[in-house]
Symmetry: C2
Subunit: 216 residues, 2 copies
């Protein structure tokens, strides 16, 4: 059964692949599962029909038969459990890969998102410049710890896993900030993820949506 | 094999059960698995020996034979997978329960933590009062959505699950803020979680550590 995901009708990042459908598309491409996409506008996202699928009025959602899921982390995990290749077979290695998914979403992403939302919500405030520096130091602390753990390895724990997929998806939110470049092994790690054929197919698919919306 | 978790030698919340070992203790109590606790000081947490277990120098960690995990979400999930009762057997219901774990950690907790860290890091700043109001509105938006979804149900999706355990753990970080009380069904939901015998055993265990440290 072909799953259906939702994505922005017009992505606010102008097709840079920062919206969270990107992580789900990438996971589906990694496991070789075709999917359908239903595009939703910003106003549709806040309506009851969409909120029945996504209580917080966001994208992506995932529908497969009578299963409906939300939260990109949960959807990637579902895809990783349902199909082979994104989680190791060994039970301990599998638990560690899942740990990196949670670490990406609970420990690394929050200060990165806070920096973004400060950019949206506080840019005109007197405190913006000072607070931005504080936030960037919080991000650097996390990146420093992650950089030390990754060391010279290609991926966080053995072969590429759903943990790396989510972590690369989180870290590439820093593209353009200059912060990632302060940690060359993390920048190389993100580049390694972005070079995967499945990433490229997913990226091109979300970019095509934005391009079509802009020219339409 | 009895697992060993780590917890603060002296909890910064003075035994209110807000440190993240609480969620792991609660999960272990729900499934009836005894556990050992190794207490770590703030300086030990930042040393290489602890960082080998927890790259970000935090608690809790979880060791069981040759398996070592970190991130409370990942540990609760591991416990829920390894033992019965915290995840439904039906595959779709199980995926939805896991979705609520991710929603608690990725969607609900970040603005709550941001409010806490603002309290620690920005209390002396000129902007503190104004920013606190902005953050509280961000939290209210999330709580409003969650409150509508919960409605009159006891738990988020059928029977109590790991999703509820993590969500209650996240929401009770708001204890004392007054925010939870604006959404009576969420306040009742948290109270329902806190009334579970397993919660109480876990709470008493972490409080006993603080009490012993304070009188020692």
């Amino acid at each position: 059964m072909t799953p259906t995901i939702t994505a922005f009708e017009r992505s606010p990042d102008r097709g840079k692949g920062q919206a969270r459908d990107m992580r789900v598309r990438w996971a589906l491409e990694e496991v070789g599962q075709p999917y359908d996409v239903r595009l939703v506008s910003f106003s549709e996202m806040k309506q009851p029909a969409h909120r029945a699928l996504q209580p917080f009025g966001q994208i992506p959602t995932y529908e497969e038969g009578d299963l409906a899921l939300f939260e990109s982390g949960a959807i990637v995990f579902h895809i990783a459990e349902r199909y082979a290749s994104l989680l190791p077979e060994d039970a301990n290695a599998r638990a560690r890969a899942i740990t990196w998914m949670f670490a990406a979403l609970s420990t690394i992403e929050p200060p990165i998102l806070e920096r973004e939302s400060t950019g949206y919500l506080e840019r005109d405030k007197t405190w913006y410049a000072e607070r931005l520096l504080m936030l960037e130091d919080r991000i650097r602390n996390r990146l420093g710890d992650l950089s030390r753990r990754l060391g010279k390895a290609d991926w966080l724990d053995g072969a590429f896993s759903a943990g790396d997929l989510v972590m690369v998806g989180v870290l590439r939110r820093l593209n353009g900030s200059g912060l990632l470049e302060e940690f060359p092994n993390l920048a190389a790690y993100v580049a390694r993820g972005e070079a995967r054929p499945a990433f490229k197919r997913a990226f091109d698919a979300q970019l095509a949506v934005f391009t079509a919306a802009s020219s339409g």
